[in-house]
Point group: C2
Chain length 235, copies 2
Amino acid sequence: MSEIKALTFDVFGTVVDWRGSVAREARAILAPKGHDLDWPNFADRWRALYVPAMTEVREGRRPFAILDDLHRENLLTLLDQDGIVNLSPPEIDRLNTAWHRLDPWPDAVEGLTRLKRRFILATVSNGNIALMVNLAKWGGLPWDVILGSEVARAYKPAPEAYDRTASVLQLEPSQCLMVAAHTNDLRAAAGRGFRTAFVRRPAEFGPLELADPWPDGAFDYNAADFLDLAAQMGA
Amino acid sequence: MSEIKALTFDVFGTVVDWRGSVAREARAILAPKGHDLDWPNFADRWRALYVPAMTEVREGRRPFAILDDLHRENLLTLLDQDGIVNLSPPEIDRLNTAWHRLDPWPDAVEGLTRLKRRFILATVSNGNIALMVNLAKWGGLPWDVILGSEVARAYKPAPEAYDRTASVLQLEPSQCLMVAAHTNDLRAAAGRGFRTAFVRRPAEFGPLELADPWPDGAFDYNAADFLDLAAQMGA
């Protein structure tokens, strides 16, 4: 087996808590404007529009657009559904960049810092470059390199998203370990020759624990969090 | 004046000592194979082929190719000129990636670490992504994001190299400060609306001090090194 050189990370849900953070940001912006919503549900509904929007790009029905632009279109849909009409364009932009201000899971920074000593740490997120840079500054995430959709011009789980990641790093796919809390992402990465690490994030979708359960052992690593992953990898 | 949010760095010569490091790496690989060259001169001759190779891309006479590929073509030219025929392909590759193992100037890591607390630190180098990632791991350079030629698909001083950098960071050009030891890079960045910091690196081209001298005050900052720049910027 070739030696792992780079860890390539899914970010939303795997590294950061998008649901709790988007709920907090939405409340901070919308409550003072007189709105009282179920804030975690608002985050869930926003997130639910993400896959269909990306699918339009992945299946070639629209040209590549960065995730911030897809998020903004989906946000306008939500605001319309909820009859929210009293936001200025700067307030809408501020709300849209809630996705730039997501808190890391409690173990993330320490685990990444340990893993960074031994491996290249790359983001392979569907988020765009500025979003990833701002998230890293917000949460202190010590990435070596921001890759993913805007560099690859492809959204996971499209094969190009993984292929181009290994290619720009000048690594074989088998030298890359995809780290994610989502089995569909890991299976797609494995299909392109990546090695895989499942990290369980039971709270990603809230208290009902709708997150992916422990998988069936199909992945190279299965970790409870990033500290566990670092320990398993000797970092 | 808009607030500076990101520092965008030239790397070869500004952050790392390419001449001394390439000379060291060339010697380490070629001397055991029976070759005795003027090693700093070998580095100079390799570097001298860099601008004409990029110009072919910039002026549209050949499609975009990453710097590692241009370096390799130029290396084969040099080896041919010097009658060096006893390197295996892996040895040639190892020599070509001498550019991935360049030492930072002594002030670079400390200066960048200070600046990183206040600003986004981005590479805007003509080097490709893997080269920049490996340099950062080699020297401990704390970048927030690797941008530059492979992301912009353009070589400095082409306008697109600067325009696309500001664009992917979602910043106005005036929120970006180009940091370089080379006045041509800074003038091109200023022409696209970037603010500019000249950092003097007198030893870049060796003891004859052929590096750019103190400029005429045309730049926003003029610094003796990165610690000086950090101090001037309150970081």
